[in-house]
């Protein structure tokens, strides 16, 4: 934008000055833009009104209070087909958040592993990892979801083959059963006094932080270096274990039981095949992208930093923890968070395999049953928009905190 200012002309205002005089031009353009915007909104709005009137429709959100009338096979909150559409939407929201949360964790694990291994000095390993990254990045996630769903449904044994006294398939480790309907896993049973064990566990995690802070303070004050490795592990495990046995083993495992029922596996929890498909597909697909971010982040730390740390006499583990990672994380975290955002948005593809996320409940069945297309799609967009903007807001806060403090 030009910063020159013409010398004020003597004489009266001329109409052409609206276009040619920099003092007025910006206002002229904005007024034109405003008029165009209003015209466009008016045009679309009047079309909408005419079309709705012609079709005998109106905009109303009353349908949210009506009974949904369909079942959902995987729910986190109580739900029956008599529940309202709004409750169905909440079930969908929770399912979306569940699969997004799970996929974010596993994708990070895959991504960090692949990214670090791709930088390995081992030629074969780094080549295998680059093949992984290239294959998964260049094939649509939709196809990956379908492939994994097909693996789950078409090539896994039936639940029936696990049943009976002499089953065709044994439970894996006596706890897990992979069937064509999903994975049966053991569920914890919370007995009397189990809350004490959980409380002790949480307290010991706080204890670890306190111990580490104390060790750091002691190091800075006196120069004495306390070990942190095995005490951390001890604090994490021992108190919880003691509490567990003192309270009389209140937490048990409810494994799938091949003998409980003649037709299906009972006991434990069943993780449906659609959830597994969307979870695993999003993890390996996004993991390939995260691997590239991790690699770029580590490579962005200049070699001199590593050499300087080595010259100071730090051990390789310390060099990674104290010098390379803090600088690499600054580069890795922002794209990582936008990958998390992508996972959340891509979880909407769950509709393809019949996982009841928000797109499948509100944007799928509810939309088709009530015919309230505009309302449903708007609510759907609003939900994703809120999620995205919340995550972006957190990211901005983080970026501002991590910004290099320069003079």
């Amino acid at each position: 934008m030009t910063t020159l200012t013409d010398p004020p002309k003597q004489g009266s205002f001329q109409p052409m000055m609206l276009l040619n005089d920099t003092r007025y031009r910006s206002i002229t353009f904005q007024v034109i833009a405003l008029i165009l915007l209003i015209l466009a909104i008016w045009f679309l709005g009047s079309n909408l009104a005419t079309n709705l009137a012609a079709a005998g429709l109106n905009i109303s959100y009353d349908f949210l209070g009506n009974p949904a009338g369909y079942d959902i096979n995987q729910t986190l909150i109580p739900y029956t087909s008599q529940s309202t559409n709004l409750q169905a939407a909440f079930v969908g929201i929770l399912n979306t958040l569940l699969v997004a949360f799970l996929a974010c964790i596993t994708a990070t694990v895959f991504g960090v592993l692949a990214g670090v291994l791709r930088l390995s000095k081992n030629w074969l390993v780094s080549k295998v990892m680059s093949v992984y990254v290239e294959i998964f990045r260049n094939i649509p996630v939709l196809i990956w979801i379908l492939i994994i769903f097909t693996i789950m449904t078409a090539s896994m044994p039936t639940a029936k083959s696990y049943l009976g006294e002499t089953p065709d398939n044994g439970l894996i480790a006596g706890l897990f059963a992979f069937t064509n309907r999903g994975v049966n896993a053991p569920a914890p049973i919370w007995g009397e006094g189990s809350m004490v064990v959980v409380a002790v566990f949480i307290a010991s995690i706080i204890g670890i932080f306190a111990y580490r802070k104390y060790a750091k303070k002691l190091l800075f004050d006196t120069g004495r270096l306390l070990p942190t490795g095995w005490p951390t592990l001890a604090i994490l495990i021992l108190p919880t274990l003691i509490a567990f046995f003192v309270m009389g083993q209140p937490i048990g495992l409810d494994a799938p039981d091949p003998l409980a029922n003649r037709f299906n596996l009972r006991g434990g929890i069943q993780i449906g095949a659609p959830l597994i498909a969307i979870w695993f597909a999003l993890s390996i697909y996004t993991g390939a992208f995260i691997a590239e971010n991790v690699r770029a982040g580590i490579q962005a730390v200049s070699k001199g930093q590593t050499e300087a740390a080595a010259a100071l006499g730090l051990r390789p583990g310390r060099i990674m923890n104290l010098v390379v990672l803090p600088q690499a994380l600054r580069v890795i975290i922002p794209p990582l968070i936008s990958q998390y955002l992508n996972i959340t948005k891509n979880s909407s593809l769950a509709i393809l395999v019949g996982y009841a996320d928000i797109t499948a409940t509100l944007g799928g069945i509810t939309l088709n049953q009530t015919g309230r297309a505009i309302e449903c799609v708007l609510l759907l967009m609003l939900f994703y928009l809120v999620i995205s903007l919340t995550i972006s807001a957190f990211m901005n806060v983080y970026n501002n905190r991590m910004k290099l403090k320069e003079r």
């Binding site: 833009a33 196809i143 797109t359 995205s388």
Partner: protein, 432 residues
């Protein structure tokens, strides 16, 4: 030193020993293997694990692929030939080849038209991708969209000719007016083009399609990988200019225009593509004038285009922000106005920085075109999930079909990203 000791030392070697080759463990493939595969014991363990993984993958897929049957009429016939041996049934690809590529309703005797359009696409793209080629070839690139439209949809040749005439008239008007001001030229050109299209609309009679040279094909008959290619190419080429406009708008210091662009970009980037496709499918029709009957293909193109435009705008904004402030000031101090300094100084540099990002978006967009199968358009994934797997002949042939679709996408996407890396090296003018 040796002079003083030579008389009391029993033996001093006076000739140079011939050089001998380094030991076999310190050279050649052995050294390479030792350094790169078994440097430490942990590294060796990783190598063994990787070798085992490779063996596992190859030993389970290779026999299956090589035992594949390429000629059979159905899955049952395929299994009969295989006779219990584990093998692929690639016969589904040969038998449904045309359906996978063109969809199942495209007129069978007209397949040469999309094929020709596909071949010509390479001719049209060549001068854009490789700028060593003679610039005159760009004329064909300019004509290609109209030619491809006519080849694929068929119908009267007057429609693409009219569209072309509008563009030419618009350009001529722009060329006349741009000497005064860019804005006048730009808007004048657009208005002139619309006037030509509007007047021309009356000249084409409603029955023109009936005795046309090429049989008219409605949009709903398009399908297969052709649909993915068409959506990908159309939407990327439309969204780049829109993205540039949005990025400039977001960088502008006019608060109103900046506000509109920010809201638009953040809104589109905040929602998944699938909700925008829902909009195209069930909602967008309500926003067009009654009776205009815009078909689903166009509605989907509109939504995908604004989706990718928002992402491309962010990439280009990054490029604009990366330019040193001195470049903007240099433009101003030369006395160039906004349009000139953007066109001649800022955008060429900003776009060059943005190329890798834009290519990433383009690859992502091309992969995302498979999402249209969710709103019941029969692209390649829609074809596989719908008519092919549902048919009694091929019910159960999953891996062969998914593998075929994966290979197609991999070839295109990997090719594009390799081209982008080549282009980056080619355009690197900074001397570091």
């Amino acid at each position: 030193m040796s002079d003083t000791q030579s008389h009391n030392v029993a033996f001093v070697r006076e000739t140079f020993l011939p050089e001998s080759a380094p030991p076999s463990t310190a050279t050649g493939p052995v050294k390479w293997i030792k350094d790169n595969l078994f440097a430490t014991w942990a590294n060796g363990l990783l190598t063994v694990a990787a070798l085992y993984l490779i063996f596992l993958v190859l030993s389970s897929t290779m026999p299956w692929i090589f035992a594949g049957i390429w000629n059979a009429e159905s899955l049952a016939a395929c299994r009969e030939v295989l006779d219990g041996v584990s093998g692929a049934c690639f016969a589904v690809l040969t038998e449904r080849w045309n359906q996978l590529l063109f969809g199942f309703t495209y007129p069978t005797d007209q397949y040469w038209r999309p094929t020709l359009a596909f071949v010509l696409l390479f001719v049209a793209m060549a001068p854009v991708l490789f700028f060593d080629l003679p610039r005159k070839l760009l004329i064909f690139t300019g004509l290609y969209p109209f030619l491809a439209f006519w080849l694929i949809w068929g119908g009267t040749i007057l429609a693409p000719l009219l569209a072309l005439a509008g563009v030419v008239v618009g350009y001529l008007v722009y060329d006349r007016l741009v000497k005064n001001s860019f804005a006048a030229g730009f808007f004048g050109g657009i208005v002139a083009a619309f006037v030509v299209w509007y007047i021309g609309g009356f000249l084409i009679s409603d029955t023109a399609n009936e005795n046309a040279m090429l049989q008219a094909v409605p949009s709903r008959d398009l399908g297969g990988f052709m649909l993915n290619m068409m959506l990908g190419i159309t939407c990327v080429s439309l969204s780049v200019p829109l993205g540039i406009a949005l990025a400039l708008g977001r960088q502008s210091n006019l608060p109103l225009i900046k506000g509109i662009c920010v809201v638009f970009i953040e809104f589109i980037r905040g929602v998944p593509l699938i909700t925008l496709l829902f909009v195209a499918n069930v909602m967008l029709a309500y926003f067009f004038p009654p009776g205009s009957g815009v078909d689903l293909f166009i509605r989907v193109v509109i939504m995908i285009t604004i989706f990718s435009a928002a992402y491309i705008a962010e990439v280009i904004r990054g490029g604009l922000a990366a330019l040193p402030k001195g470049q903007y000031e240099a433009g101003d101090s030369l006395g160039l106005d906004y349009a000139q300094s953007m066109r001649l100084i800022i955008l060429p540099q900003a776009l060059k920085i943005s190329i890798p990002g834009i290519v990433n978006i383009a690859v992502g967009l091309f992969k995302d075109t498979t999402l249209v199968s969710v709103i019941s358009m029969f692209d390649i994934v829609g074809m596989i999930r719908g008519p092919i797997l549902a048919s009694t002949d091929w019910n159960g042939v999953y891996w062969e079909l998914f593998m075929f679709a994966s290979v197609l996408f991999f070839v295109v996407c990997y090719g594009i990203s390799q081209y982008s890396q080549w282009l980056e090296r080619r355009l690197a003018t900074d001397h570091r």
